[in-house]
Symmetry: C2
Subunit: 419 residues, 2 copies
């Protein structure tokens, strides 16, 4: 074996992140990550787990006793949720309005579900009555739906969907990865049966942990396949006749045992990420959800004003715009990726491209969580203006920042009048 | 919605962790966790991913190009590896000598494999020629084997197993979760086809990220089921006729694309945990693997001397003792869990119980990674002696620490003679 090369100390450049994740993280959350390790069954640690569970309930606006994080990124949360409620042969209805609808299909197909899809053009969303009608006609076991599509910057209205699912005995499973803690999300009021969030978007926690909650309707279906694993089970543990949940790691029934007072051993909870999630959730609850939604709208307004002043054209149906992701069309004749690389190299500003039919056509500029700030919007707009000029795009120099500053100053006046 | 309760600032007690994980983490690794977030396709971040991959090769002692972390705890790594190489109906041979052999069975059964097991009494290991013979007779597609069993404190010799697997075309999949970076592990020399490690044991990184490596033999089997996911695939992407890898999140073929120069989008890499893993691996390589194994043996020797002086009886076959986990029998008439609780409450010292047939019978005291230190061994032994006296066990007061100190001073003399 040859001698290993020496690796340099970890060192990273300064960044302003305006992508839909991973977004910047509050220094208080980063600090929480440095908390020394506790054992997974240390009473101090299990108390932190219990608190985190209550915080997850608070942020999802739910009374569900089942509220815990999956130790993986958002798609681990999505897969855990779907693996738990979808059985081979089940009919799953997936309305698709962007890339992440396709991901739900992909996961369900690998679970050997019979997946029925319906699609609208990227940049639009469904009339919810159309989805509700499809649920009543097709009578699936599961309706799996994305709430906010970061790929297109759209948010899907949910009116009537919870009721339609209950009418036919379907479970309503929602990908709230992009929306939780950024725009209104009401798990209980909207009759969402299973909801999954991501850490690295509006919660502003590093990627790698995914809060999930589910209600009694979903729990009945999950518990029916509950199975204690070999090495822990006793002669008294009887299995159901149903096929087991296919994943051991992503098995919500076992995770539920581990997070219950029984604390049945499963994986080793990701200690430091749990600390970070707890701190991130604490900051959300301290700010208050309504205040946080308002903050996201304010920075969206400033960003939109600035982009409009730059003369950029917005992508997608305005009625369904997701507040935390703003999509603009790449000006004719401009290499979108070259602009992004220049922004990153020269200004340390990161914006995103998109996928599939939108690849090379739009830029996505997100204002999520800790990245939804005056600092980021102003620095991002200034950098974008200078870069566009550099690339030969005709823009009214100076207007973008004035337009954004005007939004902030109007808001400040409004706030002082109210006060 | 009622107002959310206020949650206190994160604050934890001081601990000396002597369990087989999660173990203590070097402050330098905790500090790495506070590094600001970089975007997942930021060239600075992808450079860190590439470096981490090379470091994983170094620690596994392999030239495999495939070396990357799964974003989940060790069992996510195990499940990813098995899900990638085991197809429904495949024969998998699992020799079991403790709890984690059962976990491998559990995972493979959920994958609809035909699992054949062989078992020895907990506290012993297999004569490797017995396993090699079974491989040649049963001709499985996969031999899945634990290297170090933390549940019993044993390490399985591998002599001849790689060859036996190659002779019958089987893949040799090894759970090195407890052993990597603590005791010798030679991926290439031992002809291990797939090896999986954990972060929270001898690597001393927080739980939540699992390094995995696989060679060309395994890659051929994995790549045969390679499939680009919906939303990313183009008309040119053709699937094989084989059933797809069942998990999307834990799909090593897709993870491989994401970690390749193509950087095909999959999940969002767990930014902060990647920083921590990179720093943890860097510290391992800086210390040097041989030095690190020697350090683990030294602290084991001191611990064993101290426990012997306390009059405690060791559990298990001495020939197969795992250096990083020392198991002792709980003295007759003593409530093992009450002793552990007292140790934690009064001294902040954490030791472990065990599972299944060993529950209530043994204590497991581990010296892994950053927890394998003079500080931990001496503080742990002192606390254990005082606790045993408190619980009415007759122990020769004072002898344990003198015995451990003698080991350290002999070693110091030896080192100075050598110098």
């Amino acid at each position: 074996m040859t001698t290993s090369p020496r690796f340099a100390e970890l060192s990273v450049g300064k960044r302003t992140i305006l992508t839909p994740g991973p977004v910047e993280v509050d220094p208080r959350v980063l600090r929480a990550l440095t908390t020394p390790i506790l054992g997974q069954f240390d009473p101090e640690f299990t108390a932190l787990m219990n608190e985190t569970s209550r915080m997850i309930q608070g942020v999802f606006r739910t009374a569900n006793p089942k509220a815990l994080p999956v130790d993986g990124t958002s798609r681990a949360g999505l897969e855990a949720a779907l693996t738990a409620v979808v059985r081979p042969g089940d009919k799953v209805l997936v309305p698709i309005f962007g890339r992440f609808g396709h991901l739900l299909v992909e996961i369900c197909q690998r679970l050997d579900a019979v997946v029925e899809t319906m699609e609208v053009e990227w940049g639009t969303v469904f009339d919810p009555t159309v989805i509700a009608r499809a649920v009543r006609e097709k009578r699936p076991q599961v309706l799996a739906l994305v709430h906010g599509e970061t790929s297109t910057g759209r948010v899907q209205p949910f009116t009537g969907l919870g009721d339609a699912c209950r009418d036919v005995g379907a479970l309503f499973v929602v990908d709230a990865v992009a929306t939780l803690a950024g725009v209104p999300f009401e798990t209980d009021e909207w009759k969402v049966d299973v909801a999954i969030a991501g850490a690295q978007k509006c919660l502003s926690v590093p990627a790698g942990i995914a809060p999930v909650t589910w209600n009694d309707r979903a729990d009945a279906r999950i518990t029916a396949r509950h199975r204690i694993e070999r090495g822990l089970r006793t002669a008294a543990d009887v299995d159901s006749d149903l096929p087991p949940i296919r994943s051991n790691y992503l098995d919500l029934a076992q995770l539920s045992d581990y997070w219950s007072p029984a604390r049945l051993n499963h994986h080793t909870e990701a200690t430091s990420m749990l600390y970070a999630l707890r701190e991130g959730l604490r900051l959300v609850l301290e700010e208050g959800l309504e205040e946080r939604w308002k903050r996201h709208r304010l920075h969206e307004a400033a960003l939109v004003a600035g982009l409009k002043a730059l003369g950029l054209e917005f992508f997608g149906d305005p009625a369904s715009k997701l507040a935390v992701v703003t999509c603009v069309k790449i000006p004719q004749g401009i290499d979108g990726d070259a602009v992004r690389a220049f922004l990153l190299d020269q200004f340390g500003v990161e914006i995103a491209s998109s996928f599939g039919p939108l690849k090379g056509k739009i830029w996505r500029i997100a204002t999520m969580g800790y990245s939804a700030s005056r600092f980021n919007v102003l620095h991002g707009l200034g950098a974008l203006e200078a870069t566009l000029i550099r690339f030969g795009v005709k823009v009214p120099a100076g207007d973008a920042l004035q337009a954004a500053l005007a939004v902030y100053s109007d808001q400040a006046k409004l706030a002082s009048t109210k006060g």
